[in-house]
Symmetry: C2
Subunit: 386 residues, 2 copies
């Protein structure tokens, strides 16, 4: 039990909710292979996922408890999880890396619908060799492996109070580090130096890891928001952009901050004010009963009236939790109805001149009482680096 | 060009080698979706892979230059890569997230074998929704999507001098941090505190990121080597184990160190001596013409004569590069013949008493002149924390 970050009741609740969804989606089980789902049910968090050599499987049946089919290297750790029982094989064994053991386990499941859901759909990846998946299909004739992602996302979209607390802790630690950054930076330092200073400070503030950091800078704005920091020195008139996904017990924050280097152009200041106000509108729209497309529209009303040219991000925020980004998306056509317990980012951005974009982001927990802002709100005036 | 870590000639060499392998494997192209392969050909390194929302594709055709099919959010960054031309679609667009654009691009490829290789095999993952992969298959009738991983691994197993240099830099930075750790630690500190101190120090020594850190401790040894650090306080008689994968320009080191807390049992000291000597034997065996199973045997001869009970890791080292672990495996049945340019880890471990394991690891570059040790060699006597 000491290996799990939450009490056993948390996992039992997750399994119970999953099992209700399996009835609704006519699934006999969920077969999960990807780190966010494996950890969601087992409580086992590890960076060993960086090694793709061995697949790991958790089966959540329609009734009863979870079944673990994992490589021997994971047996001692998983035996300490709330699930307890572990089926293992000596891995790596490329000729049969868990496939026979998994097929046997699946054949022993009670069969009602003849369907098992896997991570085959939206924003999902099956973490096992597809040649092995084909063998598995052959070995479990009579059971179809189907797309389980609608059930998985319905489950994970609603965060428990413990999950929200972890996201809030990530947000607060990174928010304090963002605020402290200007005091340690000066013109002439590079993006890479700024990013490293920020990362080191974040790690001292109690998060577990910083798996995501993007950095951009340029005169009055930047053309994109997903690259790593470069050796570009920060100059007068630049806007420096830093976007961070740090984790606490496997739960991400995802938000950014913009910094003004000395005096930035008036057009950039006006665009910044518009994006700040769009964020405000997005936060206020993030309430139960509203749709993600309505949240998007609330932001777009502000951005378009401020002369938005475009936005290569393709949406204005998204779900957040055990992944840096999760469904839903704040965009037209995604008409997800917000419910208490969801956590989304509010991420308006606009290109106000060729190659000059400004993007803001905050993280919001949807509650009956309205938006619960998990991030310390960005200041209306950009922090300055002198 | 400034977005790529290496000169264009490096990427042209990779493409030329890939194209020779495609002839051999009867492939018209490689279609690649996973971060290690995408970055290998494009030079684009980003932590944005943490967001699973949008798939990214690079097509390496049998002749000619690479084709990029990427979401709009990636266009500005990829336009700066050595490839230049970028095909984009407005993403996210769940109803058609790049599938039509990718199918059009594939249909325009010159067809000779009617086969395109994907990351379907060993130690590989296809990073796109499988429901979309099924649609893609339907849209490119006459072209089979097959397992391209034998060609991919044959390509990536041989590292260029620039690649080896990056791995060496990761190894040296982490090695210095490992050596400096005892001075900052004392009994009573927790695993978590030790791991955080080490991570912070590594980041100040010039690596880009620390995606992998595992930690274990226990009286005279530990039962497993893949868990994150816990709040367990370090006590007299413990062995503390830390294993780190840090990256430079996308290239990992992967090695561990063991520390003695005060006085540890004689049996642990004897086992440690055996594992150190097994490492020495493994390094000496890592020469062109030897097989990975021979390297394994060289280590096993030492471990078994020292009373090895078992080892839940399942092998004694593996390939290393853009992934923390890559083929081949040092184990029976993996008869990969070592060639100059390969980089492998030498990772002997033994359980010498129930639940008490000791594992060592070093990283070696195979050269005509013999083993080129990339890591500073672990001391024969464990570093002590007092």
């Amino acid at each position: 039990m000491d290996a799990c970050p939450f009490p056993e009741s948390e996992y039992l609740d997750r399994v119970a909710r999953a099992q209700a969804l399996m009835q609704e989606h006519r699934l006999d089980a969920l077969l999960l292979t990807a780190p966010p789902n494996f950890g969601y049910f087992t409580g086992f968090e590890t960076q060993f996922w960086e090694s793709p050599t061995r697949p790991w499987f958790v089966l959540v049946p329609r009734q009863g408890t979870c079944l673990l089919v994992v490589p021997e290297i994971g047996a001692p750790a998983l035996a300490r999880s709330w699930i307890g029982a572990v089926h293992t094989w000596p891995a790596p064994r490329p000729a049969d890396d868990g496939v026979s053991l998994l097929a046997d386990t699946i054949r022993n499941l009670e069969r009602r619908y003849g369907r098992i859901g896997m991570e085959m759909g939206r924003e999902s990846v099956v973490r096992m060799p597809l040649v092995d998946l084909a063998v598995l299909r052959d070995r479990i004739r009579g059971v179809d492996l189907v797309d389980g992602s609608p059930a998985i996302w319905a489950l994970r979209a609603l965060k428990s109070p413990l999950e929200v607390d972890c996201i809030r802790r990530s947000c607060q630690a990174v928010g304090r580090a963002f605020e402290a950054l200007p005091a340690t930076l000066a013109r002439g330092r590079t993006e890479r130096q700024a990013a490293r200073a920020l990362t080191l400070d974040i790690l001292t503030r109690g998060v577990d890891a910083v798996p995501f950091l993007a950095c951009a800078s340029g005169p009055g704005g930047y053309p994109e928001i997903i690259s790593p920091p470069s050796d570009r020195p920060l100059e007068d008139g630049d806007v420096l952009f830093l976007d961070v996904g740090a984790t606490t017990r496997g739960y991400f924050c995802d938000f950014d901050r913009n910094y003004a280097l000395g005096r930035i152009p008036d057009a950039a200041l006006r665009a910044h004010e518009a994006v700040w106000r769009a964020t405000e509108a997005g936060i206020q729209a993030a309430r139960p009963g509203r749709t993600t497309s309505q949240v998007w529209q609330a932001m777009m009303d502000v951005l378009e009236s401020a002369g938005m040219r475009g936005n290569n991000v393709g949406r204005l925020g998204h779900g957040l939790g055990r992944q840096l980004t999760e469904p839903p998306s704040n965009m037209p056509g995604d008409d997800t109805v917000l419910e208490p317990g969801m956590v989304i980012t509010i991420e308006p951005g606009m290109e106000y001149a060729e190659g000059r974009m400004l993007v803001h982001e905050e993280d919001v927990h949807i509650t009956e009482d309205g938006p619960d802002l998990l991030t310390p709100r960005a200041p209306r005036e950009m922090w300055r680096i002198s």
